[in-house]
């Protein structure tokens, strides 16, 4: 079971193997979240990034490895979601560079490609942090290089790299204190290890099929495996309707619901608590999905979007009447009905759905940028995990794009307030950047497990106040957590406080919280708006 050289189809089998492996493990990776907030999405992001690469590779499937590797690289660059996804796409891009123009590749090409990938990834992120996917990726690349110096067997090298990566992963809590405090390993690093597992499985299958090449049956099985996988990958993207709703009930079984809904499509999300659940799925049968949901509660806020139509619109196929080009256009990542309405009222041309619980891909952002009739586009990722994908979109765009590094929805709103249609892109960017720097914001949600972060311990079910710096307060009551956050953000002297309440809260409840906070800070001006965001009870800004 040795492989010394391999072609495009072999590479494709590896991509499929690792994508499928990620598909199985993504929920477990998602759960490796530093903060006990039910919004982890690293596994999902890496899965979609791999899927996009594998899908493009399927389209260009060929014996020629250069062609397949380049296709995988461009697919994953476009499909990259989240920071880990962007870094992963850079690893694949490194492989693409190393294999470009080759008929067949050897272990030394893989080693070279991964070294290049690590370089590219470090360039893509401003401040590479040790104890993350970067560390695990570097160890993986080093292991491949070392193995290449000894023997040319790809299977053996991959197993060694897997062991090395696993060791590096176990050490991530030593390198990154937040991981240690939270008692988890790095999620992106874990994703990389899972990818290696998938590759090993695929290689072993492939090697086995070569050993018995004379037996037609095995070879045929191998071909079948490749073709059914391709079919499977294509099908995954053939769902037409993005279906979302909120389910209210009393004892909604998340896991059961998830299992029942999973066969209807992909991109499934079931989040919330026992009483209120937000469901999101891409499906061809929105009716069946809703029927299934009805068994557990009442449906609210139902949104069904035909994604094909949206895509055509974005690609300008059903082009509306020609509009004159604006000087500066705005594209922002939004999440929650209320937030979207506010962003629209501030002049955003296109809102890309996503954010904390569902990071948009570089391609989603790119499509929105291209569809905006403006010479220059200012792009607001509004989430720290989307900034890299936004940068990726910028580098791929056909027009000038300026990425404003907004790290939260509320920061995005502050920046939008500073926008003036009469000014040029440069001036607006500076004004918006200054507004970002002046914005102080955070959010409040419920802890899903016991944890200790930043020296503050929080128990499952308690409310946590989080800022860009992490956990700043924890309390048994929602109003105490909100007041604690306001106090933290303002140094105890708030001027204008804005509360955006989430999808899972009633306005009366939110108003009650406002009154409690007002009692703590009687001199503050406190304003309440419907944000409609999932997961977070309140987004808070203080000026």
């Amino acid at each position: 079971m040795k492989i010394y050289s391999f072609n495009g189809k072999d590479l494709y089998a590896m991509l499929v193997g690792s994508t499928n492996r990620l598909a199985k493990r993504k929920a477990e990776i998602d759960a490796l979240n530093v903060f006990p907030v039910p919004d982890g999405d690293t596994g999902t992001n890496m899965y979609y990034t791999m899927l996009a690469g594998a899908r493009e590779a399927a389209r260009q499937l060929d014996e020629n490895i250069g062609r397949v590797a380049e296709a995988a690289a461009s697919g994953s660059l476009l499909g990259a979601r989240g920071n880990s996804g962007v870094i992963l796409s850079q690893f694949i891009a490194g492989l693409g560079e190393a294999m470009a123009g080759l008929e067949q590749a050897s272990l030394s090409d893989v080693a070279r490609g991964l070294q290049r990938g690590v370089e590219l990834a470090c360039q893509a992120i401003a401040n590479p942090v040790e104890g993350t996917i970067i560390t695990v990726g570097r160890e993986m690349a080093a292991a491949f290089s070392e193995a290449a110096g000894r023997s040319g067997d790809l299977v053996r090298a991959t197993v060694l790299a897997y062991q090395q990566a696993q060791k590096a992963l176990e050490k991530t809590p030593e390198l990154l204190p937040v991981l240690k405090e939270a008692g988890v390993v790095d999620a992106g690093g874990r994703g990389l290890v899972v990818i290696l597992e998938g590759i090993i499985k695929a290689l072993k299958d492939a090697a086995a099929s070569r050993d018995v090449e004379l037996f037609d049956v095995a070879a045929q099985q191998q071909r079948q495996f490749a073709s059914t996988s391709a079919e499977y990958l294509d099908k995954k993207l053939q769902y037409t309707y993005c279906t979302e709703f909120i389910l209210s009930g009393s004892q909604i079984p998340h896991d059961t619901l998830r299992q029942e809904l999973a066969p209807y499509g992909d991109c499934l999300m079931v989040v919330g608590n026992k009483q209120t659940v937000k469901v999101h799925i891409h499906t061809n049968h929105p009716g069946l999905v809703m029927e299934c949901g009805l068994r557990y509660g009442a449906l609210k806020e139902i949104h069904i979007n035909n994604m094909e139509e949206q895509m055509q619109e974005q690609n300008g196929l059903s082009a509306p009447a020609e509009r004159p080009l604006k000087k500066v256009g705005l594209v922002a990542v939004g999440l929650g009905e209320g937030i979207n309405i506010i962003m629209n009222s501030l002049g955003v041309d296109r809102i890309v759905q996503g954010g904390q619980t569902m990071n948009p891909s570089a391609q989603d952002l790119l499509a929105a940028v291209e569809a905006t009739p403006a010479e220059t586009v200012i792009l607001l990722p509004n989430n720290k995990n989307v900034i890299l994908a936004a940068e990726q979109a910028r580098s791929l765009a056909s027009k000038e794009v300026m990425v404003l590094p907004s790290r939260s929805l509320v920061q995005g709103i502050s920046a939008l307030l500073a926008f003036n249609t009469y000014e040029d892109g440069e001036t607006n960017y500076k004004r918006m950047e200054a507004a970002l720097a002046a914005c102080r914001d955070g959010e409040v949600t419920v802890a899903v497990r016991d944890s200790s972060v930043n020296g503050i311990s929080v128990r499952k079910g308690e409310y946590m106040a989080l800022t860009g710096d992490g956990l700043v307060a924890a309390a048994a009551n929602l109003e105490e957590a909100v007041a604690g956050l306001v106090g933290h953000l303002s140094g105890g002297k708030p001027g204008l406080v804005t509360l955006y309440f989430g999808a899972d809260m009633a306005e009366a409840e939110a108003r009650w919280v406002l009154e409690k906070v007002q009692a703590v800070y009687p001199r503050a001006d406190i304003e309440l708006y419907y944000g409609g965001q999932p997961v977070y009870h309140f987004l808070v800004s203080v000026e």
């Binding site: 309405i341 307030l417 500073a418 249609t421 009469y422 204008l496 804005t498 304003e527 708006y529």
Partner: protein, 282 residues
């Protein structure tokens, strides 16, 4: 000794009756109508009554410029005096008043009549008139005054805010793209005049912060230098008092004139407008 200079303006300058009388200024009223009922600005309806009715009206009143005949009637007695007439009016981008005045001038064929587009309105027009009147009373010629006004827009700072965008949007007197000034988040947009057109400057959340910001922006431009200043409101005496307090604290005013927005201008700003203009001598 040259002939006497006489100023003609229109009611959108929002001059006080005392000032008009003291400096012998001719004011040609624009017109407005609530439904079928037509009124002449400041003549048939005074600001207090106007805002009371505006708040109750289902539909915005309509406004119309004076006719050339109105201007002819205004110019006639001055022509007979043999005065040198300077007729300065609301920006042509906002109203057809200047065109009506120009038509009247053509009909009169009187050589000593200058019609000027102020590229502004209300207190901003008011400010120009004060500067012109002052120079005339010190013996300046028509040419001197026109020259002085040439530089006025570069010497002045104009800012205003409205409580709600509703009236400006309905009135259609703002440039394209300004619709996105945010009707949510308690946003108070701050505007200026540029080339006779209302131009957004910044969006600020909350009235107090907007007032602070207006005065701060003025201060950034003028520093401690002495300036002339006019502030005005449209049925918002509280805002005006708050603005006045800030101006007195932060701006070195050689004169501070308190004014208000009249019925025709108030139709477009709506109640809740406050504005400030400062200008320095050349």
């Amino acid at each position: 000794m040259s002939a006497k200079i006489r100023f003609v303006t229109d009611s959108t300058a929002d001059l006080s009756p005392e000032y008009v009388e003291q400096h012998n200024i001719t004011v040609v009223p624009l017109k407005g109508s609530f439904g079928e009922e037509t009124y002449r600005d400041y003549v048939d309806i005074k600001p207090d009554e106007f805002y009371r009715r505006l708040r109750q009206a289902d539909k915005l009143p309509r406004t119309s410029q004076p006719s050339p005949a109105d201007f002819l009637a205004a110019y006639q007695p001055l022509v007979e005096e043999g005065a040198e007439i300077i007729s300065i009016h609301i920006a042509s981008a906002l109203s057809g008043t200047v065109q009506a005045a120009r038509l009247a001038k053509e009909m009169l064929n009187y050589p000593h009549l200058e019609v000027v587009d102020s590229e502004s309105a209300s207190i901003f027009l008011h400010a120009m008139i004060r500067e012109g009147v002052r120079l005339a009373e010190r013996g300046g010629s028509v040419e001197d005054i026109l020259e002085l006004w040439q530089s006025f827009h570069s010497r002045r700072q104009v800012l205003f805010m409205v409580d709600t965008m509703e009236y400006m949007l309905k009135g259609g007197r703002i440039g394209k793209g300004t619709a996105f000034l945010g009707t949510l988040l308690n946003i108070k947009p701050i505007f200026t005049f540029k080339g006779g057109v209302v131009h957004p400057v910044e969006k600020v959340r909350g009235r107090k912060k907007a007032l602070d910001r207006m005065v701060e922006l003025i201060r950034q431009q003028v520093g401690d230098k002495p300036v002339h200043c006019i502030i005005a409101d449209a049925d918002a005496p509280d805002y005006l008092a708050e603005l006045r307090r800030r101006v007195e604290e932060r701006i070195n005013c050689s004169e501070l004139i308190i004014s208000r927005m009249g019925p025709v201008m108030g139709t477009y700003s709506g109640p809740g407008f406050v504005g400030i203009v400062v200008w320095r001598d050349p």
